[in-house]
Symmetry: C2
Subunit: 194 residues, 2 copies
């Protein structure tokens, strides 16, 4: 019997995650059954359960993908630059580029947050994600930055994720402009003193 | 037959909304049936349907209550002060006081946002709420403020609402500190030049 390659396993895992992301985004987390995920992925129950024993384990893997493959690279791209919080948020706003994170995984993230108010497992997952992202963010701000600055960057990213569900204009440009406009009055004041 | 007073009607309406808010917050929007809302409110189906013909109409009334009774007073309290965006957000953060908005209606708001990604009626409601709050916010900023500043205040309020589901420390003090820390580097720079 030929040995199943690591690459094959990873491809199959991603195939299931893609199908689940589509189902959750389209019908919601509660209204999606594991049966629908088997069907959408084109795989048997046994094949899917081998990778993901439950809907919660699928949500968890989708959330981890967002952190590892979208947020982490966007934050890494400004590592070492020690930007002010407003400029850091403006740079990370690249995650809102149309066709990126937006269409597929954002609805699932917002569902996870809604669930976290009453499902302890989802709350643990949301807390863990916020914690991991906050640590990454703290590293790109200037040394000695107040830790609360990270909380506002985090909140803004979550809030724009929410807004992207109903407003077409949530783009990297809009988020960057909003970030700088929020901090701008101080900038203007300092320019006048030069 | 005695005429039913306006006050009585309003009290009964609020009784239904309170019951629905509790049900949605505890079990989620999808898992709550109208039957459970009849039971929780202690009223008959006929009595409830007289005020609210559907679950969506209940969600809409709850969202309107949040805007009219919590957000509008918090924003009105700083009207005429023409605060910088960071100070405006720090003031409006009073909505996160423990025991206020937080425990009951925030979970319902976040559910509405999650639904808005695929339910056109919820999307219209969310868009309308964002629009109304944005107009109120624009009035408290200094004349000529860039409109994008309002979008960041809005996003931060939504993001902290999301965070409050899993983090105990989302208080008016934390949100105010986060708001000022985000804009602080510019403030520090201008102070050094004085």
């Amino acid at each position: 019997m030929p040995k199943v390659s690591q690459e094959h396993l990873e491809r199959r895992r991603q195939q299931i995650l893609d199908a689940a992301t589509d189902c959750f985004a389209r019908h919601g987390f509660h209204a999606t059954s594991m049966q629908e995920i088997f069907r959408a992925s084109g795989l048997s129950a046994g094949a899917v359960y081998r990778y993901f024993p439950s809907k919660n384990s699928l949500i968890k893997a989708i959330a981890e993908n967002v952190v590892n493959e979208v947020l982490t690279p966007a934050i890494d791209a400004i590592s070492g630059q020690r930007l002010d919080p407003a400029d850091a948020l403006a740079s990370i706003a690249v995650i809102f580029k149309p066709g990126g994170l937006r269409a597929r995984t954002l609805p699932v993230s917002v569902q996870m947050w809604a669930e976290s108010f009453r499902d302890p497992e989802m709350a643990d997952l949301a807390r863990d994600m916020i914690d991991r992202i906050s640590k990454l963010l703290a590293q790109v701000l200037p040394p000695g930055s107040p830790p609360e600055a990270v909380r506002l960057i985090m909140a803004a990213l979550q809030g724009f994720a929410v807004q992207s569900g109903v407003l077409e204009d949530v783009t990297p440009e809009l988020v960057a402009a909003a970030s700088r406009a929020f901090a701008a009055p101080q900038k203007d004041a300092s320019q006048k003193q030069e």
